[in-house]
């Protein structure tokens, strides 16, 4: 048996059903075997798209997503996608071809030092030295990817190790990787929560990986604690629950910020306290007792100090907390009344029927019309923050976004990966005209492979967030933010075998969404938006709460005295 067959057999044994990738000279032996196997292959238009697809697949299925590229440019093209997975703790297994071990170091054609380049963007990575170790390395890669804090793993595979026959017995693996836990602070945490007058829960992206949203809500109900989400945590808990306050951070809800400001104890679950969440760190939870639960011990105390840290799987720790804390809602009636008042005030009507078309209108209509098990992926920019702020993740809806690396171009390929993972769900890619154009070649991949994703292009003919920052923080010096010309996205879609519609008026949005959801081919809704509508409210990272730019947000008319009287 040659190494390539052993590799493909091993992948199949690990449950791999789909590989996203592009062939090249250094990985053709692997492709030769994939073609003869039961594994489905999705031929992407760019290796970066393959990595994002594997990422989207992993985020929906909870299992490793597999991408495969060739050596040199194939590998370097995948680095952004792998880095995206790394920052968002997604278990991608990235396979790269490599020149033959006899050629390595000679600057051979399509040679790059993939092993070293992958180190900073992976949880671990391996280089195959001889074919017999393939099963061992693949087993280890899968074990590392889904142990502890999930993350991407790369395997660099020189062409001779897969093209050649095995000369000995394969090295088999029974690798298990255990993540250390530290529950020594569990009892102090329980005491803090029981003594709290105004407890709150901050939930981050790790809670989605742990699938512990319902347990978080049950704990919140026991405590009488509101639940605030980071952008990465959005979707961990269903937002139609009365204790779910929505997102916090730079573009978060004022009601969420209020809850965190006033809480005397915050239980932070699986969040790394990113700068986009904390804003001005000198003003973030300075007088609050913080309990930080995270599977990654290195996150505890990294960005926020003076915390009570518990290391371990957050789903298991929440169950322990649920069984240990007192039901104390009666003592916290005043707090809960105040929470409800703030939450209720924040349920604004953003179904804006103005002309030119406003992004809020599109988000509002999507929020109303998408099924309760829909998967929405976003790109990066204004539309992402509009969705994080306004879109309601209720029922079993999923919200998938690049919150860590902030990778434009993530939306469409991750939607394709998500649809492959869950073909029965409606998958909507919410993207901007800038992000869409970074990876829109993958629309052809979707058509060719009959993966009917619905792409909503929030088209304001500019890099909207850049434009907004230049307006707000660079003296209105707009430069290199507006597109003088972009493709006709509907004709583009049609040219590839998809369908589409242009939307220019508020009254046309619902019909476009209805068509997009019903389409059995990939579909583009080109929403022509008002270029001047900024994504607000926004709290610049240096400004603190008093520096929030509110725009249309009705909190702008509420003074401190009124806020003090909320719910009283």
């Amino acid at each position: 048996m040659r190494g390539a067959k052993l590799l493909v057999n091993t992948l199949a044994e690990h449950g791999v059903r789909t590989i996203f990738g592009i062939p090249g000279g250094a990985n053709l032996a692997i492709y030769d075997e994939i073609g003869a196997s039961s594994i489905t292959h999705v031929l992407t238009r760019h290796e970066g798209g393959a990595a994002h697809m594997a990422d989207g697949y992993a985020r929906v299925s909870g299992r490793p997503g597999i991408c495969l590229g060739t050596s040199g440019p194939g590998a370097t093209n995948m680095i952004t996608g792998v880095a995206t997975a790394y920052l968002d703790s997604s278990p991608v297994v990235c396979l790269t071809g490599q020149v033959s071990t006899k050629m390595m170091g000679n600057d051979a054609f399509q040679e790059s030092n993939t092993f070293d380049m992958m180190i900073p963007v992976t949880k671990s990575n391996f280089k195959v030295r001889f074919p017999e170790e393939i099963p061992y390395l693949v087993g280890k890669a899968f074990a590392v990817a889904v142990s502890g804090r999930f993350g991407p793993v790369a395997i660099d595979i020189p062409s001779d190790t897969v093209a050649n026959e095995l000369s000995g017995e394969p090295h088999l693996s029974s690798t298990t990787v255990t993540a250390p836990s530290d529950l020594s602070n569990l009892q102090p945490a329980v005491s803090m929560l029981n003594a709290a007058q105004r407890p709150a829960i901050l939930v981050g992206g790790g809670a989605k990986w742990a699938r512990c949203g319902e347990a978080v809500l049950e704990l919140a109900e026991l405590l009488g604690a509101p639940v605030v989400s980071t952008v990465m945590g959005k979707g961990a808990v269903r937002e139609d629950h009365p204790l779910a306050m929505g997102t916090t951070g730079m573009h978060g809800r004022r009601s969420s910020a209020l809850v965190l400001d006033e809480a005397d104890v915050v239980l932070a679950i699986a969040t790394r306290f990113s700068d986009r969440t904390t804003g001005k760190t000198g003003e973030f939870l300075t007088k609050t007792g913080i309990i930080h639960v995270d599977i990654d011990n290195a996150e505890i105390g990294k960005n926020v100090k003076n915390i009570v840290g518990i290391t371990g799987n957050c789903g298991e720790i929440i169950e322990l907390l649920k069984n240990s804390v007192d039901r104390n809602t009666e003592r916290r009636t005043e707090w809960m009344t105040r929470i409800m008042a703030a939450r209720s005030f924040c349920q604004c009507d953003f179904d804006i029927n103005e002309s030119p078309l406003k992004p809020q209108k599109v988000i509002s209509q999507l929020s109303k019309m998408l099924p309760d098990d829909a998967i929405i992926t976003t790109d990066v920019g204004q539309h992402q923050m509009f969705a994080a702020h306004f879109f309601e993740v209720r029922g079993h809806r999923r919200f998938i976004t690049s919150g860590g690396l902030g990778t434009m171009g993530f939306g469409l390929p991750s939607a394709i990966g998500a649809k492959v993972a869950e073909p029965g769900a409606k998958v909507i890619c919410l993207t901007g005209d800038g992000g869409f154009q970074m990876t829109f070649g993958e629309f052809a991949t979707a058509v060719e492979n009959r993966i009917p994703v619905f792409v909503v292009v929030m088209n304001n003919a500019s890099l909207g967030m850049i434009r907004q920052f230049q307006k707000q923080f660079y003296g209105n010096h707009i430069f290199a933010a507006d597109y003088g010309r972009s493709p006709d996205f509907v004709k583009f879609a049609e040219s590839m075998g998809g369908e589409g519609v242009v939307v220019e008026k508020a009254g046309e949005v619902a019909e476009a969404i209805r068509r997009g959801l019903a389409s059995d081919v990939p579909f583009v809704a080109d929403m022509k938006l008002d270029i001047n509508e900024d994504c607000l409210p926004m709290t610049p990272p240096w400004a603190g709460r008093n520096g929030t730019i509110y725009g249309r947000c009705k909190w702008k008319d509420v003074n401190d005295g009124q806020i003090k009287n909320f719910g009283r």
Partner: protein
């Protein structure tokens, strides 16, 4: 005065690079590094400028796949080094990205 980290790790390809990258991604200068391999495990000794720098990085080094053990040696510890400095003052535009 420098501070020292002592690390023990499986002798597998990439461990040394990962350790070095943990310093460089935090903008911490390595003053001296000694890598000793004599079978598995290998040992890595890293000197950095301050205890605060060492404390910033030690937990991240511990979680590198293959690292078995990492500790910050406390001899010569600077006074009041308990609160690692992670942020200096930044101008507003710097904080946008």
């Amino acid at each position: 005065m420098t501070a020292r980290l002592r690390i023990s790790a499986d002798d597998q390809e990439g461990v040394l690079q990962r350790v070095i990258f943990e310093f460089s991604r935090r903008n911490i200068s390595i003053e001296k590094l000694i890598f000793t391999r004599g079978g598995s495990p290998c040992t890595i000794s890293v000197d950095v400028m301050s205890d605060a720098d060492a404390m910033r990085v030690v937990k991240s080094i511990k979680k590198i796949q293959g690292v078995l053990y990492a500790e910050h040696q406390l001899e010569g510890c600077e006074p009041h080094a308990g609160t690692p400095q992670t942020r200096r003052e930044m101008n507003p535009q710097e904080m946008l990205g």
